[in-house]
């Protein structure tokens, strides 16, 4: 099920069931994520993506359910909004809840390209910069698992591409396991090692991405995966886009050439 190696999984979920009175249902989810593995969780809105992520993050206090979840102690969460505390300066936001942070907060801020903005108030930053601070806040905890709930959903297409590169670089450097919730097929393909698809509270697909380094083989693989997931999501076939990023940020319905 999991791609690299035979290590004990970082994440182990068995038969997870969640029901709410108002939204989101999970019907028996089994999911393993290996150490350092980057898993994208795709699904339509209302498919239970966020419910699963919130269950893993342990913030679904209102939910009722059963099942087994085993997670590393050190995990970080990134939300769709940066969720910075507006009354704290950037550096204090990053070091929130980190005992004896030392210089690590500053280093994390430099790593996301915001060195020198330690004393800024969150409202003085752009949306993309705020999300980078959120990324720094997640990294400073040196997580074994990074949970990200559509972290680029609120950003413009250009900023999103920059954030993809940054996230990939940081994940490569720090090697946490990642569960990225998204509804962007291309985002999932370009970032993840493995894509799982959630449909109606069940895992409907689980595919390794296995992108070749470059060249036409890579483009073909991206196109094949995209078509596959579009079909699984019930979007229907679209003419292939030749550039990797051509479709990112564009709603599927508008993707005509």
């Amino acid at each position: 099920m999991s791609a690299p190696g035979h290590d004990a999984p970082t994440v182990r979920v068995r038969d997870l069931v969640r029901t709410f009175t108002y939204k989101g249902v999970l019907n028996g989810i089994d999911l393993d994520i290996a150490p350092g593995e980057f898993v994208a969780l795709l699904g339509r809105s209302g498919s239970g993506k966020s419910t699963l992520l919130r269950a893993l993050a342990g913030i679904d206090h209102e939910a009722r359910g059963t099942g087994e979840i085993s997670l590393p102690e050190r995990l970080s969460v990134i939300f769709q909004d940066a969720r910075l505390l507006p009354w704290m300066r950037v550096l204090d936001n990053i070091e929130l809840g980190v005992p004896a942070a030392g210089t690590r907060g500053r280093e994390a801020l430099a790593e996301v390209g915001l060195a020198g903005r330690e004393r800024a108030w969150p409202h003085e930053l752009s949306g993309g910069e705020q999300q980078r601070v959120a990324l720094a806040r997640a990294l400073v905890r040196e997580p074994k698992l990074l949970l990200a709930d559509e972290p680029f959903g609120a950003l413009d297409a250009l900023t999103r591409i920059q954030m993809h590169t940054l996230l990939r670089r940081l994940v490569d450097a720090h090697q946490p396991a990642v569960l990225l919730v998204t509804h962007e097929i291309d985002e999932a393909i370009l970032l993840a090692d493995r894509i799982v698809l959630l449909d109606d509270g069940r895992l409907a697909a689980d595919l390794p991405v296995e992108l070749p380094g470059q060249g036409p083989a890579r483009t073909d693989r991206i196109a094949a995966l995209r078509t596959r997931f579009q079909r699984l999501l019930g979007i229907g076939e679209q003419p292939d886009d030749h550039h990797e990023y051509a479709a990112v940020g564009t709603p599927p319905g508008e993707r005509h050439e």
Binding site: I59, F79, L85, P86, V98
Partner: protein, 287 residues
Amino acid sequence: MNAFPEKFDLPDAARPAPQTFSAAPKRIRRQRLSPGTPARYGNLLGPALLLLYWTVLSATGWLDPRTLPAPWTALTTGFDLIRDGRLQEHLAVSAWRAMTGLGFGVAIGTALALVSGLSLLGGYVIDGLVQIKRGIPILALIPFMILWLGIGEAMKITLIATAVFVPVYINTHNALRAIDIRHVELAETVGLSRAQFIRHVVVPGSLPGFLTGLRFGVTSSWLALVVVEQLNATSGIGYMVTLARNYAQTDVMLVGLVVYAVLGFGSDALVRQLERRLLGWRRTLGR
């Protein structure tokens, strides 16, 4: 009076050629809906206008001194009282009572708001009781307070504190409950302890409401003075006014009123100053 550079009279040679196209692109400047940055002492304008109005009416004789003495009467009487040492003496006693009562009231109001806002049981117990207290006029409480606490300072300070804690509780509690649930989730995911959560999220999040409550509370403490200093008091501004009333000294009563006005305005200005410093992170209409 030309406010715009393009309307300055230029020598003919420097005058730009008249524009030939009619629909020249113009920069659109939207109507500003916020009132702009306030002037430093702008809040003094209202009181200054009132003072001017009062002075003009008194100076022109429109205002009978038997209805309301002139401002300068208040000033001269005030100076006399200061020369006697009576005003400072009364003021010191009153200020001590007000501050002590305010201190207790603010502490109690804040503590109750925290307990009531952070625990369900606390909310069930406390909130209803505070609403009951709100409905009981301070004057109706006095006989019981005297019965329970006697007629000394303890009773006076307790009465002031009960007047203060209600607005502090209501506003702090209200702001606390309005804290964004997303910030609470964040606190959970970064693993804050309850104490850290209170310090980093609850206190700063409910601070705007607390400060509003404090503004009401400060004023309440001065207002409650008037009432409690009529009860077995031998000193204090309230006592001074009551005594003056018995001897029909309208000028001394007026000094008392002016002192209350200055104290009320001054302490409110202090809290607002505090507000500006503590809430510097906010971007709002009023700054």
